[in-house]
């Protein structure tokens, strides 16, 4: 298990992350969400000791990475903004990674390059953004590290690459030996991928959601009532997502049979369940505070 314990980092007297704590098990795909600039990348850089923490620890199987850096080889992170790969050809990259990650799988690396039509002769810096993201993921997977951090892996990618990355990540956790921590400022990207979502807000870890639990309770409904007035039961128990004429789209964070009876008793013209997205869940749970695409 990887444990982040009370991790704190200040940069230029500004608190970037404060008292961040969470556990992360192999087999989990954990999403990390938060607004731009909330400290997601700083958290990753501090976890991987590129930035030295002001306080707190990162432990892997109870080994403190500060005191026992060798344990860090179970943790993989490529900084998408600052990495050394630019001037190297793709075929050269395993020379470096294999000397750090002793389980690095060169054959699989070559196979994946071929599968995604990436030329080993190409320099990393000459690749498109999407191709670089793919190479980063291929390096992450073939490193065979237990804990893999992906920072905005879907940023600016086309739908095909996005699907490829998502399916590779899902395949990889199937045997429960690897875990992923994936950051994104767009909740839709993590939908269907993450089991758990951490929400960073105001430099702190504001929530740690188990999505299965949240989804089991919540429902998204489309409703039309005869009267223009919104019934009190909706105001009390739901979050209004969208209004279109008299059509209301709402999310009930805790949809119970009693609530269902109350709604039906109002004789709505339309009462229809809609697929619930991660974004809906966050709107329902955090209201405007989440700051995500609220006016869409």
């Amino acid at each position: 298990m990887l444990r982040v314990s009370k991790l704190t980092k200040q940069i230029d007297h500004r608190q970037i992350i404060e008292d961040v704590s969470f556990d992360w098990q192999p087999g989990e795909i954990v999403g990390l969400v938060g607004r731009n600039g909330v400290g997601k990348t700083t958290l990753f850089r501090t976890m991987t000791r590129q930035y030295l923490a002001d306080a707190g620890q990162v432990l892997i199987d109870q080994h403190d990475l500060g005191a026992e850096p060798a344990a860090q080889r179970q943790l993989f992170f490529i900084d998408t903004q600052y990495n050394f790969l630019g001037n190297y050809r793709l075929r050269d990259l395993p020379d470096f990674y294999a000397l750090v990650y002793t389980q690095f799988d060169r054959d699989r690396y070559t196979q994946l390059l071929t599968r995604f039509k990436l030329n080993g002769q190409d320099q990393y810096r000459r690749l498109s953004k999407g191709m670089r993201a793919l190479v980063n993921l291929i390096l992450a997977l073939t490193s065979n590290a237990t804990y893999i951090i992906l920072d905005e892996p879907f940023d600016g990618l086309d739908v095909i690459v996005r699907e490829n990355i998502a399916s590779m990540v899902i395949d990889e956790v199937a045997d429960q030996t690897k875990g992923f921590l994936i950051s994104s400022h767009d909740l839709n990207e993590l939908d269907g991928l993450s089991d758990r979502v951490l929400l960073l807000k105001d430099n702190r870890l504001a929530h740690d959601y188990n999505l299965e639990d949240v989804r089991a309770k919540a429902k998204k409904m489309q409703l039309v009532f005869k009267d223009k007035e919104i019934p009190q039961v909706l105001k009390t128990h739901s979050k209004l997502i969208r209004v279109s004429g008299r059509v209301l789209v709402v999310v009930f964070p805790d949809y119970t049979p009693e609530l269902d009876d109350q709604l039906r008793a109002l004789n709505p013209v339309l009462l229809e369940e809609l697929p619930l997205t991660l974004e809906d869940l966050f709107r329902a749970n955090l209201s405007q505070d989440t700051g995500y695409q609220l006016l869409k």
Binding site: R49, F77, F96
Partner: protein
């Protein structure tokens, strides 16, 4: 794993070392060929009598010989600068710091590789130069190379190269801006040349041998201090200050004080008057403050303009 770390670092720096070796050998050949042009046929031996003494060899009037070329000092200076700077600006430090190797081991392995590589380059270049001297030796002239002069010259040269390496290596560790770093180390190196001339004047009453060995001892001490201090700082290097002048903001005030004292010293040592001291102190104090605190000053100025 130490072996893997060495292989990793060699994988990173090998192109640099091969390129440097190639350039060094070419430069060495050029220097050696120019030396042979200066040889006079009035001497029957290549070296003067000084080669038999425990002194740094000075060329005789019959011709120059690069026993230990200043070129080696220059490549040590350049390597110290580039090996540390490249890893910061090329983001290789990110990879190293996340690699699971202890920082101390990374630092000393990298330093060991750099110094071994430089020594190998010096030796290969010197061998090529000596070969040229041997091949170009005129008829009737003999090759009277003696150990005292040879060893003293090499030792003195290597210590000078080491301290130049250490100065650049240390500067590149604490300065996070490439342009400012180059200006800083060039300025400091030039000031050292001036200081060296001054101290040569001050030690005129001492025996040459004593001065040379004293200088060697002081340079070596300075190099060791810088390299050990560098290892302490490397363990505490946090990369969020990459791109700022100082990678360690806590060094700002000590650096400011050293800068002001050093500039005041070098501009007033040759003068018995008080005016140069006051002027150099004032200029250094103002310039140092504006330079080291410029991000905060610029930010304040921007805020004032915004208001």
């Amino acid at each position: 794993m130490t072996k893997n770390l060495s292989r990793l670092l060699w994988r990173r720096y090998r192109q640099w070392f091969w390129a440097l070796l190639g350039i060094s050998v070419l430069a060495g050949i050029a220097i050696a060929l120019m030396d042979t042009e200066s040889w006079s046929h009035h001497s029957s031996v290549l070296f003067s009598d000084q080669i038999d003494q425990w002194l740094v060899y000075q060329n005789s009037k019959y011709g120059s010989v690069s026993l230990f070329s200043y070129w080696f000092v220059f490549i040590a200076w350049l390597s110290g600068l580039l090996l540390m700077m490249q890893d910061l600006k090329g983001n290789f430090n990110q990879f190293l710091f996340a690699s699971g190797y202890p920082r101390q081991r990374i630092y000393w392995t990298k330093l060991g590789m750099a110094l071994t590589g430089l020594l190998a380059i010096d030796v290969v270049t010197a061998l090529v130069q000596y070969l040229i001297y041997w091949l170009k030796l005129p008829h009737g002239m003999s090759f009277n190379l003696a150990l005292p002069g040879f060893l003293t010259t090499w030792l003195s040269g290597l210590v000078l190269a080491l301290v130049m390496f250490a100065i650049c290596w240390f500067a590149a560790l604490i300065v996070g801006q490439s342009g400012a770093l180059v200006i800083t180390v060039c300025g400091f190196t030039l000031s050292l040349v001036g200081l060296n001339t001054f101290f040569q004047g001050e030690t005129i009453l001492m025996a040459t041998r004593d001065v040379e060995w004293l200088a060697m001892g002081l340079w070596l001490l300075a190099a060791v201090v810088l390299l050990v201090w560098g290892s302490f700082l490397f363990s505490r290097l946090s990369l969020e200050h990459d791109g700022e002048y100082l990678m360690f903001p806590r060094l700002r005030i000590p650096l400011y004080l050293v800068f002001v004292a050093y500039i005041t010293f070098i501009f007033s040592i040759n003068s018995g008057e008080w005016q140069p001291t006051v002027i150099s102190f004032t200029v250094a104090a103002i310039f140092g403050y504006l330079w080291l605190w410029r991000p905060q000053l610029i930010e304040k100025w921007r805020q004032r303009r915004g208001n």
